[in-house]
Subunit: 384 residues, 2 copies
Amino acid sequence: MAGSAGDLVRLVAKGHGRSRAELARLSGMAPSSVSLRVEELIDAGLLREDGEGASRGGRRPRQLRLHENAGVVVAVDVGTHHLRMAVLDLAGRVLLEHELPGDITEGPERVSERLLEHIRMTLRQATVEELPLLGVGMGMPGPVDPAAAKVIAPSRMPGWNEYPIGRRMSELLGVRVVVENDANLMAVGEHRYGWPDRDNLMAVKAGTGIGCGIIASGKLHRGRGAAGDISHVPVHVPEPVTCSCGHSDCLEAHASGAALRRTLRAQGIEVSSSRQLVELVNDGVPEVTTLVRNAGRLAGQVLTPLVNFFNPDVLVLGGGLSAAEPFVAAVRGAIYERCLPLATRDLEIATAVTGRDACMLGAGALVLDEVLASEWVDDTLSAR
Amino acid sequence: MAGSAGDLVRLVAKGHGRSRAELARLSGMAPSSVSLRVEELIDAGLLREDGEGASRGGRRPRQLRLHENAGVVVAVDVGTHHLRMAVLDLAGRVLLEHELPGDITEGPERVSERLLEHIRMTLRQATVEELPLLGVGMGMPGPVDPAAAKVIAPSRMPGWNEYPIGRRMSELLGVRVVVENDANLMAVGEHRYGWPDRDNLMAVKAGTGIGCGIIASGKLHRGRGAAGDISHVPVHVPEPVTCSCGHSDCLEAHASGAALRRTLRAQGIEVSSSRQLVELVNDGVPEVTTLVRNAGRLAGQVLTPLVNFFNPDVLVLGGGLSAAEPFVAAVRGAIYERCLPLATRDLEIATAVTGRDACMLGAGALVLDEVLASEWVDDTLSAR
DNA sequence: ACACGAAACTTCGATTCCGAACAAAGATGG
DNA sequence: CCATCTTTGTTCGGAATCGAAGTTTCGTGT
């Protein structure tokens, strides 16, 4: 692997390189060069020594970590009915966390205004007062063009189409802003915080909508930009329900939180959010439980060929519905029943390790990657 | 981006770096360093200058290519009813090509014996007589564990399970032997020879069986080893047919060449190979055409969610059935009908550029990658 | 307690590599 | 046809990198 200052910082940031010796092994650089570079990075305030680690049969390594005062990033999860926000240090540790209600249908101007206000307020808090803001990561519940940092052709997000949310935020805050789809971020977050050594991962986000993020060979797979879309895969159901795409047998039209709520409403049961839906399941309301279990079965039906095809190490289930045990059980059942033994033999099927924070943490991880891959490292080095 | 002698050779081999200046840009090394290294490589007989290229507004570049006398690799496509073989130079150009009938059910001992004999015979031919053999790539029509170079749990290949074909060939020939699944190789071959700039590609091989190879970010995606399996995805059909896996609605049981031949046999039409099947289609035999078109529809049905999910740049259709126009048309139709516009907008659906050679060329490309990534380059450099 | 090996750094001379300036060769445009 | 700009490739001194040997510090076995 290549060898420059940035590479070392990134290795430390991802937790793979925790001592000079380890960095030398991973980066391919000579131990002497690593030592020199690390010294510089410590002098520049980017790294810091952090006690000694466990011996592996010889001298104990002097552990390295990113200096917590080097800077912070802000991670935002824009949901359909909430705004979640966190401030992370360069190592991806959460310093502050914060949720406020929101309504994405209010449009991008109002939402971004509220967001900015809260980001500024949060950054004034004591814990992070003096630390420079290095970047912002945002997750959006719809298709995103990350290069343009825009949402494109979303459903349920009036006014957001092509709105340059990334550029706007970037101008007002003066830092880089990366925008990504929420399911993709869930995949990034779970890969980083939950399954760092499993480099092929699928993360299904079953909330108001249904999406899927893909990690292939350790990197987010975007395809031509729309990869991971499973919402309009046809499923086998008795009663057709018209979907926004014009078909009537889409997974999303039958198994998403929005679809379930619609069905319940027709039965006279009013539910306002996925969370409340799950509460009803946990309270043992039979109609709701049946419905949720069936949604899981449908999702499993769709995921089965995808698991055979992609053959991941881990399948992560996240989003609101994943908090309902029957949903998860049904997905598991469908997959084990119909996937090839070769595909399920070593497959882990798990709910999101980071729970409701998955998308937000993924946004943080993504922007951290960008920051640490940028010129910022070298600039900081040469500045001191 | 790293910079050593091997990297330069690989860039030249892949056709991306064709002059010193281009190599400098792509490798990230300084132009001066590239010049020095290239000089060494030319002295060692690995590279050679090849006239001048077109000017881009300044001095004309002195083009570089791999020296054709540096060595050769052998690529083998082991089919169910044939053995195809080629000798390639380091740039992946075919020097000799060769097909002989074969029957994979004769078992690994007899097949590998015949193969060895033919490889040795071919290598004695005038064109490649003096050139060192650097490696062998083999494609097998079943699941492969590339690390162990074995076929694992195949259907229709009695005697091959766990047989160490790679090690055996390697011992007898004295060179490295890489073994891979044929659909994966088709993907590699098509990516290299047909779509070098499209780094997300799916290649479907519809022959006696049905398989799929995946190129993600320019590299073969293996998942946990079984990625690309689409043969046992359930399809929607009126009449169940028992599959080797125990289910009755597998794609392979209804749309593979073997399945079609079985159906035709029940109708009193005896067909011995996929090629003959295609001939009947081209002769306009209606029963056969209908059957093949339906197989294409089923394959398309299965591919639709996978295209949405993986969102490739290119979908390549190869294998025997892809020579039948109705099959290809049906796949195309199914995908355009049911995939998301976002996924099909820039999607290319094409039959294999390299036709029947795809797997074989893929085997060559794969072993070339291995050879050029090995110590061989550095050894050759320091030897002279 | 002591010797020994093993791992984590450090030191320092030799080597490699970079990068800025330069030379070569050609396109472009009056 | 000549001046100017581009691109390619080379030269050469200075700087960064390597790597082999050395130092430090620990586990292990006796």
